[in-house]
Amino acid sequence: MRTCGRGRVNSLARSVVDASVRLFSLSALHVNILIPTIMLPDEILDTLQSEFPCRESQIQQLTAFYSEHHLPSPPLLVAHGLTATGKSSIIKSLLELSSLPHAVIRCRECITGRHLLERIVASCLDALDTFGDERIDRKRFARTENLSSLAVNLQRLLEGRNKFVLVLDGIDKQREAPPTMMAALGRFREVIPNLSIILISNLPLTQALYTPSTPHIHFAPYPRSSLLTILAAKPPKIFLTPPSTEKFPDYTPDLAAEDDAWLWGRFTSAVYDSLSKHTGRDLVNFRIAALKLWRPFVEPVEAGTFGTRDFSRLMVNRRHLFQGEEGVLDRIIASESTLTNPTGTVPPTPKRNLRTLAHDLPYYATHLLIAAYLASYNPSRTDVTYFMKHTDKRKNKRRVHTSSGTGAMKSKHRKISRHLLTPSPFPLDRLLAIFRALLDDAGVPQSADLYTQVATLTSMRLLVKAGGAGSADPLDTGAKWRVNFGWEYARGLGRTVGLEVGEYLVGGVD
């Protein structure tokens, strides 16, 4: 027994009894001992509307289709819309409220197409067990290898039963989906009359279904006004610990709630206009950004510098929150330091050394990486000029620089700086040759340690094997390698060992 709506039993006792009576008269199969809590369509509509504001038309359409047990539902319905537009949650709550037998399958949990099929049958069995009273003999449904056996299984399962709703959430993101799955789902109703499928996807599935006149319900992205309305429903508190009652005897919880709502409303519209409009307009991103910025925003109010209604002064004081991008960047580790800037001025760009190692690499490993970078970004014909001994590096460098950069070439082809291109592959011997050239003293023995380091760097994904997946043999001499880091990292590496990588790079940098 699903526990949905059980809390409403008392208030809706009358209607429940009515509905169940109606149910009994309609379907002899549902001989329920427990009185199911079934709501009337209008009540479902009201509940959903209050729970999910700004989705009136979609909720109306869906309730029309799915709230009544005895009225037919469309065999297939596609609910589409971008992320965070309320598709799944609305459909799920609707089905739970209407207490139709249903099963919801999240396709992103299914690893293969077969997995999805097995999941469908298993969830349908579970759902029927929950909604019906008798246990279904599961022996006959032990295997669902392909779409046709799914059709057969569902047919057997739903034979002689009432309407059943199957929801496939995120069907367009299904991994390793069978190519005919969509088309098959579209035609299931032809063999299973009492099955009604809802597909939830990001894009309309008109192309994939091959079934004309499939009803689509579009969940449009929330516009600005709707977003603000939804967020205004639950304003967070300004004061985490309410101010002491002795000091402020007038400041009642009601007043505090009013202040919260007032300031939160102003604040969210400011966040939307300055940040979320350009970075992430969907509800989830907007809510995350707003909540992230809320605490630093109300910090002066909490400290007592400003009153709760000094919105304009607060804005000026905390303007750095809306100027920086910290609030909308996705980070695993929440960096509080830049948000809670007490000075109120624009903080200097955080000196985040982007790609430095937290731990130092060994001396020769660092040189190997630098050599690999140079091997990737220098054409091999210039190696003689850069790494031959007994030559003046600077003189050669200038020559190469001018010949490649200027002249008629420039007007014809737009030159892209080398370090912005993808690294080119190189053989291992070239790496080792450059490595030895970088270390002027020839004191590095030809020991296996160097190869160990290459292997370690490979498993750290700093060096990558460039050849196809077929050449898995690590001892293959023809194998080519590539670096997997950028210019800044290479420069940082060079500086840790006192080597300016830019001096060896063809064409210079910047």
Partner: protein, 672 residues
């Protein structure tokens, strides 16, 4: 070149009757006398060391581990409301990826013992794609805590198989069933080497885990070798939104190595010590090539093993071995030691001929001497270690830059070149110049060290200093007479010449007293250090209590495979040792002779050529060498060169090239 697809290979005729007849060994040669005794001694000595190592390793990252366990425990407490994001720990474990496994297994033990969580480690090797990853995860988690319930499980699985759809083996539904039964607070999934995972797999894992988060309390831990930023850059924005966590830094491996060194090699009581050359090599390798704690430990262990295995006199390190236990061969072995000879020579120079005679003739008196000297040597080394620790402590408390590590100081001391070195003089001078506040710190830390070997009474010095400081009325600390701040330079101009003269400022009474105290301390420390910093190599029996052979270590831990192949091909005589191509005889460098193996000849020709090699030129050059003088070409030469070329290709030195017809491309260069 390959004009025949196949041909019958005729092996060169072997003259079987010329094979020398086998000889049977008549006397039983015991190549390794008393091996079992030495083995047991080794085990005893190493067990001590290993215990110390384990303790150090466990303590080394206990703080980080505690933090992670706390994080896991804190993440589990928020129950009730659905979590929006997966609690994630980013463990920056450093580039020593070999030690990550140990770290994560220890972490698992801690997490399991201190929180009510399931813990599973995933490595990149077992998870090439999402399906196998989930399979592995399911297997690892459901096999936990099943000791008593195994029976139930079997029944359950059989039940579901017979009656209805079975869950596929990568379905996290298994974990949910397990979770329903066990009700753990959290399921910790540790990704040991996140770099080696395919990014797509990680992204999908995060997606799947997040999808299950409302039913299964997952916590993810990522082991990172490079940096947390690097990890974040790899993940997509969506996955980052699903994750929310903290960063944990693991202790750098060089710090751990330093600690290990001080407890094993520089420890006050170690029966066998690793000599300066070898320890220098071990440490350098850690700095330059690999950062790997386990490798360091292995190096130490191998040194211990090879000492007891290869050196027979090491039997004398055995505790409680009496004269009767030892055969005369042991004493004969000691008499062959270089340090024994040196000792005998010094004795002879002193005119103790009779003593020398008894030592050479009587095993019993030699045994007594050996016992005495081993004890002496070990005490000397102990005091050397203590002096090194003291020296390091002085530098650290006085904050003398550049900072030297204890390992560096110890290796220099053990090599016998610390006393009298600039480093030593500099340190002692800084000690003389130290002001009272710095000296106070030094004395306090010395007292804490609580050295047994030194005769210096730190407490007394400390008391005297306290008295002086209390009596002083000035605001600043007391300064000794050698402090530069007490010097002033006076300039006098006489007859258009500038004279600079140094001048000592007048010292106050307290400063004078303080100077005396410092001078006294300096002298005592100096005396102690000079007595402790001896050259252990020069001592009698240093071969027994100190192991300092480099080559076994290098051969095992730092082999040179490519160099060996190149050398074998370039100068085959080094390996074959045959008389025909002896270099000394021909007196010419790199001479090519027909007697050399064909592959070696071809390799040397290969070395002389450029990137693209003409095969026919190669053949004619080869022919000219092999068939010296003879006119017509021998069919055997063709076979030889084909085999040689095939071998070069097999070694990866050449490959067929499409750039030019009849050419092969050189793909390896000597000496890289």
């Amino acid at each position: 070149m390959e004009h025949e697809k196949c041909y019958i290979y005729a092996p060169p005729e072997s003259n079987s009757e010329e094979r020398p007849s086998k000889r049977v060994r008549t006397s039983k040669l015991q190549s390794q006398p008393q091996l079992t005794e030495r083995l047991s001694t080794y085990r005893e000595v190493w067990a001590q060391q290993e215990e110390r190592i384990q303790q150090t390793l466990e303590n080394a990252d206990s703080v980080t581990q505690e933090n992670i366990v706390k994080f896991v425990a804190a993440s589990t407490t928020s129950e009730g409301e659905p979590q929006a994001s997966i609690p994630t720990g980013l463990i920056v474990a450093g580039p020593s990826i070999a030690s990550h496994g140990l770290f994560f297994s220890r972490l698992g033990q801690n997490i399991r013992s201190e929180t009510d969580s399931a813990y599973a480690v995933l490595t990149s090797g077992e998870c090439p794609n999402l399906k196998t990853l989930l399979k592995c995860l399911v297997k690892k988690i459901t096999s936990l805590k099943d000791d008593g319930d195994e029976h139930d499980d079997l029944i359950n699985s059989g039940f579901s198989a017979r009656n209805g759809p079975k869950l596929l083996d990568f379905d996290l539904g298994h974990v949910q069933m397990w979770q329903d039964k066990n009700e753990t607070q959290s399921i910790v999934v540790a990704i040991q080497d996140s770099e080696a995972f395919d990014t797509a797999v990680l992204v999908e894992l995060v997606d799947t885990v997040h999808s299950w988060l409302d039913r299964l309390p997952f916590i993810l831990l990522f082991g990172i070798a490079t940096s947390a930023e690097n990890f974040e850059d790899r993940m997509s924005g969506k996955s980052l939104r699903y994750l929310d966590g903290q960063k944990f830094d693991v202790t750098q491996s060089d710090v751990i190595i330093e600690k290990l060194f001080s407890v094993t090699v520089a420890n006050a009581d170690a029966r066998l010590r690793i000599g300066p050359t070898l320890s220098h090599r071990l440490l350098d390798r850690q700095k330059d090539h690999v950062q790997n704690v386990q490798d360091f430990v292995d190096g130490l262990k191998y040194a211990h093993m090879s000492h007891f295995y290869a050196s027979y006199p090491s039997i004398f390190l055995r505790k409680g071995s009496t004269y009767t236990d030892l055969p005369s061969e042991a004493f004969e072995a000691v008499r062959n030691l270089p340090s024994f000879r040196r000792w005998i020579e010094t004795l002879l120079q002193d005119g103790n001929a009779s003593e020398v005679r008894t030592l050479l003739q009587s095993d019993q008196s030699l045994h007594e001497e050996i016992a005495k000297h081993i004890k002496l040597g070990q005490t000397a080394l102990t005091s050397l270690s203590q002096a090194a620790i003291l020296f390091h402590n002085i530098r650290e408390s006085l904050q003398i830059s550049p900072p030297f590590r204890l390992s560096t100081i110890w290796t220099r001391a053990a090599a016998g070149d610390l006393s009298g070195s600039p480093l030593y003089r500099e340190t002692m001078l800084s000690l003389k110049k130290a002001s009272s506040d710095k000296l106070k710190q030094l004395l306090i830390s010395m007292e804490r060290l609580n050295m047994e070997g030194s005769s210096i009474d730190w407490a007394k010095f400390n008391q005297n200093l306290l008295k002086l400081v209390q009596n002083s009325d000035g605001s600043g600390p007391l300064r000794s007479q050698d402090d530069v701040r007490n010097d002033s330079v006076r300039t006098t101009v006489i007859a258009q010449k500038v004279l600079l003269s140094k001048h000592k400022a007048a010292l106050s009474e307290q400063d004078k007293a303080y100077s005396e105290l410092v001078a006294q301390l300096h002298d005592e420390i100096d005396r102690y250090m000079t007595s402790a910093f001896i050259d252990p190599q020069a001592m009698f029996l240093s071969e027994i209590f100190m192991y300092d052979l480099k080559s076994p270590h290098v051969e095992v831990f730092q082999p040179k495979p490519r160099f060996a192949i190149e050398r074998a091909l370039a100068t085959p005589h080094d390996y074959l040792g045959c008389s025909c191509c002896d270099r000394n005889r021909t007196e010419e460098e790199g001479v090519l002779a027909a007697t050399q193996p064909a592959t070696a000849i071809l390799y040397q020709l290969f070395l002389e050529s450029g990137t693209l090699i003409n095969a026919s030129d190669l053949w004619s050059a080869f022919e000219a060498i092999v068939e010296e003088g003879s006119e017509e070409s021998d069919p055997k030469t063709s076979a030889l060169i084909q085999r040689a070329l095939a071998e070069l290709r097999y070694l990866g030195l050449v490959k067929p090239s499409r750039k030019k017809t009849d050419h092969i491309a050189k793909i390896m260069w000597k000496g890289l």
